[in-house]
Amino acid sequence: MKRALAVVLAVAAVLVTGCGLSDQESILDKDEIVIGVRPDLPLVGFRRADGRFEGFDVDVARYVAGKLDKEFTFLPTLAAARDDVLVDGRADMVVATYTISQDRKAKVLFAGPYHISYQDILIRANETIKNVRDLEGRRICEVTGANAAKRVVEERKVAARVVPFPDYRQCLAALKSNQVDAVTTNDVILAGLAAQDGSGLRLANAQFNEQRSGIGLPKGDVPACEAVNRAITDMYQDGTAAKLLKKWFGTSGLDLDTIAVPQFEGCS
């Protein structure tokens, strides 16, 4: 009998250690998560003077965290830092107009997209530019580090004259003072800039490059990615997505005729 007992104990010990060896940790196992959002984009992800965050992405992040049943804190994350905060673990999730691309997928995992935006063109009220071809020979602003202007010249092969500026604020000033003719980037960013500016700059609604904004997660966290995708499906099915898009972009000139759950990238 003693021997049998010893066998039982030995097997039990193997089982217990075996259970401890789980795969990669998932952020789903945490009680509290850190979400990276943009602090610098009005209407999208913006830190107000009182330190609170607001915008479409911020509301999406809140909704998703709620669906995952997690407490959360926001981490202000600028465009250039989005990969890094996930890779080095400072953030568990990034919701920051984070365009899904094959290059980035080597470093992070994307849930979503939760919104499809387009590259668009911001122009002065009296301007006639209607689509990307009309930028030929015109001066467009390029923000250092962003690739939107390059995509016009290289990807679309439109010979626009690129004028570099350090940030969007100075781009907008240049647009208003006729130093450039257009600013081009993601339409939600342009809508936010125009709304904040309030001087009558408008979107051309050219919609020439599709940009899929995904929710960045640590690479390999498939369970979290699947859970976030389910949350995004819910967000569209229960009408929250439509409500949030109208709340933030309803008066911005953004085309909101079709609001539907985007085609997901897939988690594997």
């Binding site: 009998m1 021997r3 049998a4 066998v7 039982v8 097997v11 039990a12 193997v14 089982l15 075996g18 259970c19 094959q102 290059d103 080597a106 499809i116 387009y118 689509n131 990307v132 071809r133 390059k150 290289e154 990807e155 679309r156 092969k157 919609q207 020439f208 490059n209 599709e210 498939v222 369970p223 699947e226 995708n229 389910r230 499906t233 819910d234 099915q237 005729d257 079709t258 539907a260 759950v261 985007p262 085609q263 997901f264 897939g266 988690c267 594997s268």
Partner: protein
């Protein structure tokens, strides 16, 4: 035969002690045997549940929803094709309309099947319902575009603006609302399979270990009982107990073997079958909408840049080469580098894989020629190229992917069948071995106990 052990003067408690100990050990033996069979039943029903979910629900659902996507996507591509044919291709026009009708009926069947397979998953059911509603609207919008196009009687190439505008409503509904939902349904099954697999990969080995523990304890008790009775009753062995021990050992080894086989079946079905079937279904879906983007690129001049970009984006997600624009991508694909990432990166192996890659190259080469004609304002030739070589090369590429998918589908099906048949045999034998072992234990112990009456 019966040897009476009791000698005069032996103290009473010891006499009571022998049958007592026999009863206790028999009790432990029976309990551990019960545990063994309960664990076997639990383990095998967990495995059966896994095989059911992966093999009979999610697996077929991927095929149904991927079929739905392909049918919907092809409907929209056929409409676009008709709209660029103008008055130049009456026969092709009729064939495209017929194909549109066929695909609509395929889509309807796939929707019914998907609804049936979605079981009690409310989000999946809502999605199927929403596609069903949208499809009615799509047909109305596409019908309007086709009617306007027929009335306009334009030359082959881009149709008049009113036709383009009518088609935009239809294609936006299809590409932005319906297709994503069909695609996400396919993906959702990937989620279901992964979760089920992870759960079973945890519980089945755990239960298998419990089976081993219970079995070893049961066999230990049987052997102990055998030795105890032999010593007490001066017998060399009791045949019934030996038979019980052997039967238990066989049941243990066989049961553990079946659970191991089932785990292996689940692993093979998922890793070598399902995962590839899902990836190839995704790749075929994305590729199919790529060829729709070619027609749309030709059809809608104002949105040509958008459609060229989505074409590039989709190409890169299927087979990825780093490229800043479509020209660069074409160069890299057609010059024959074999080093690529993307959805098909891990799938295109072996001879079938190489064939599929070659077919993809031919398709992209046809695309180069097609776009050159569009940019050179040779609309008529561009339409001929689109309907001729581009379609032929696309079909060859799609068939190569389908062939790969069928190979994996075969692996998947065989693994599931194998797992299920192993379980069926186990469940057939289980009641008999329980009965046999029970009877043998009774036959071995009962006569000894009777001696104390």
């Amino acid at each position: 035969m019966t040897l009476v052990q009791t000698r005069p003067g032996t103290p009473l408690p010891a006499e009571r002690g022998v049958p007592g100990r026999i009863r206790v050990v028999s009790g432990i033996t029976v309990a551990s045997l019960a545990l063994l069979f309960v664990a076997l039943a639990l383990g095998s029903s967990a495995a059966r549940d896994g095989l059911q979910v992966i093999g009979r629900d999610a697996g077929p659902q991927v095929v149904a929803t991927a079929g739905l996507y392909l049918a919907l996507s092809d409907m929209d591509a056929q409409v676009a094709n008709v709209l660029v044919m103008g008055d130049g291709y009456p026969r092709e026009r009729e064939a495209a309309i017929t194909r549109y009708e066929q695909q609509r009926s395929v889509a309807n069947q796939a929707l019914l099947k998907a609804f049936e397979l979605s079981g009690d998953n409310p989000a999946e059911r809502r999605t199927v319902q929403s596609v069903l509603d949208g499809l009615g609207r799509y047909e109305r919008l596409a019908g309007q575009a086709l009617l306007l196009d027929e009335r306009s009687g334009h030359a082959p190439g881009p149709p008049p603006d009113e036709v383009v505008l009518a088609y935009r409503d239809a294609t936006d509904l299809m590409r932005k609302v319906l297709l994503p939902q069909a695609y996400n349904l396919t993906l959702e099954n990937g989620t279901i399979v992964r979760r089920t697999y992870d759960e079973k990969a945890f519980t089945v080995p755990l239960v298998r270990d419990a089976v081993v523990v219970a079995g070893v304890v049961a066999i230990g008790c049987l052997i102990w009982l055998q030795i105890f009775l032999a010593r007490r009753f001066r017998r060399i062995f009791g045949p019934a107990l030996i038979a019980a021990t052997l039967t238990t050992a066989v049941a243990l080894v066989y049961g553990v073997g079946v659970l191991g086989q089932d785990m292996q079946a689940l692993r093979t079905a998922k890793s070598d079958g399902f995962d590839s079937v899902l990836t190839l279904a995704k790749a075929r879906a994305i590729s199919n909408s790529m060829q729709g983007d070619q027609s749309r690129y030709l059809l809608d001049k104002e949105r040509a840049d958008t459609y060229e970009h989505t074409y590039l984006d989709k190409s890169m997600s299927v087979i990825y080469f780093e490229a800043g624009n479509l020209d660069a991508y074409h160069r890299k694909v057609t010059t024959g580098s074999k080093d690529f990432l993307g959805l098909l990166g891990p799938e295109l192996v072996g001879k079938e894989g190489r064939d599929a890659l070659d077919a993809y190259r031919d398709f992209q080469a046809a695309d180069v020629k097609f776009r050159r004609l569009v940019l050179g304002d040779r609309a008529n030739e561009a339409v001929a190229e689109r309907l001729g070589p581009v379609t032929t090369t696309f079909t060859a590429y799609d068939e190569a992917l389908l062939e790969l998918a069928e190979t994996h589908q075969g692996v998947f099906k065989r693994a599931i069948d194998m797992g299920e048949s192993a379980l069926n045999t186990l469940w057939l034998l289980l009641p008999f071995s329980i009965g046999a072992i029970g009877l043998l234990v009774i036959a071995g112990v009962w006569p000894r106990l009777k001696e104390y009456r």
